[in-house]
């Protein structure tokens, strides 16, 4: 049977305009990669928003898979932004194949 290993999957909801800060943090921590998903609308404590790139209110999902220690390091690095910019971060354990890639 095929072998799987456990890694952390981290997803961050961030403003499109600020997406680079998140990916730079990922690069800096030494995680091998990341993937960006589009998001179309949402609602939070600050009310609803819609994807409107013309006025710059659009957001993205940044997803990255990493070993636990790097994941925690990343969470640590991103924590200030979560507060400053209202980003949202959640993470959980996943099984991956070819774990040496992550």
């Amino acid at each position: 049977m095929i072998e799987t290993v456990t890694r952390k999957r981290i997803e961050i909801l961030a403003d499109t305009a600020l997406q680079k800060r998140v990916t730079s943090a990922i690069d800096k921590v030494g995680i091998t990669g990341w993937t960006i998903l589009p998001v179309s609308s949402g609602k939070g404590r600050e009310g609803p928003w819609r994807e409107e790139s013309v006025v710059g209110t659009d957001k993205v999902f940044v997803l990255t898979i990493a070993a636990e220690d790097k994941a925690m390091e990343l969470a640590e690095a991103l924590a200030p932004m979560l507060t400053d910019f209202g980003f949202i971060l959640s993470m959980w354990d996943v099984q991956v194949i070819r774990g040496e890639r992550f």
């Binding site: 305009a17 600020l18 009310g47 609803p48 819609r50 409107e52 013309v54 006025v55 209110t57 659009d58």
Partner: protein, 322 residues
Amino acid sequence: MFDAAIQTFTSPVVLFFVLGLAAAFARSDLTIPEPIAKALSLYLMAAIGIKGGVAVAKSGIDATVLSALGAGIIAGFTLPFFAYAVLKSFGKLDRVNSGAVAAHYGSISVVTFVTAVEIFEGQGNAPGGYMVAVMAAMEAPAILSGLLLARGMGSKGGTQSSGEMLHEVFTNSSIVLLLGAFVIGMIGGPEGFDPVSPFFEAGFKGVLCLFLLDMGLIAARRIMDARAVTWRLTLIAIFLPIVNGAAGTALGIAIGLDTGSAAALGVLCASASYIAVPAAMRLALPEADPGIYLTMSLSITFPFNVLINIGLISALAVMLAG
């Protein structure tokens, strides 16, 4: 003046804006798909830029053009100081938010400008093509003044270096496309423009209709969700465009611009940015509340300018020029 109002309200461009407002208030599910809205705005930037460039290629750069440019840049730097004072005292905003909002009112709104140009052209007062260059020159200065005000002179630079900020502003997609197309228009000139004019010229007003439809939807939806904007700020969002618009128009006449160009300078001063400046503020002043500056500039000042103030400014320019 009554005539001007009628003309404004029978222009399809303005009527589509009103349709957008109405549809959103009626809670219709009408939306322009996001990539289309973006594409319409890119198209408008390219078309405005290229038309302006061709116009300057024809007319050349003379003293009028240079003085208009100078007036625009000076207005961009100074208008935020006035706005800041009003926002802080009467508006009761804190320093950071006052500075952020002030930057918006010193800068310009491309769509307001374009709508005004359409209307002025319909009245036989087409502004000079160089006003596009004036508009481009007015995007950035207000950002600097606003930051200076928000951070206090000489304070530390927030989370972002000024170099990064300036790079951000000058490589902003709208500015790059506007200026790039302007240069293309200048290089190509009227003959170079000819083959692409069916696309960039004939389609222009129709695209503007759809874009204003979308802006109407966005502006109305934002105001329905708004929480952060008090009656004091609402008043300011109407007061500033009136005062700035009148001042800009008078300045234009004073430096010898023709009626249409002076009115266009007035519109630039009256309009508030909701494209380049919000993006810059989000990066440079994350502590400022986008709910305040976007709602003021987009949902109050923008409709006020399109529906009423453009007409007022046009009447004023005609009066002063007469």
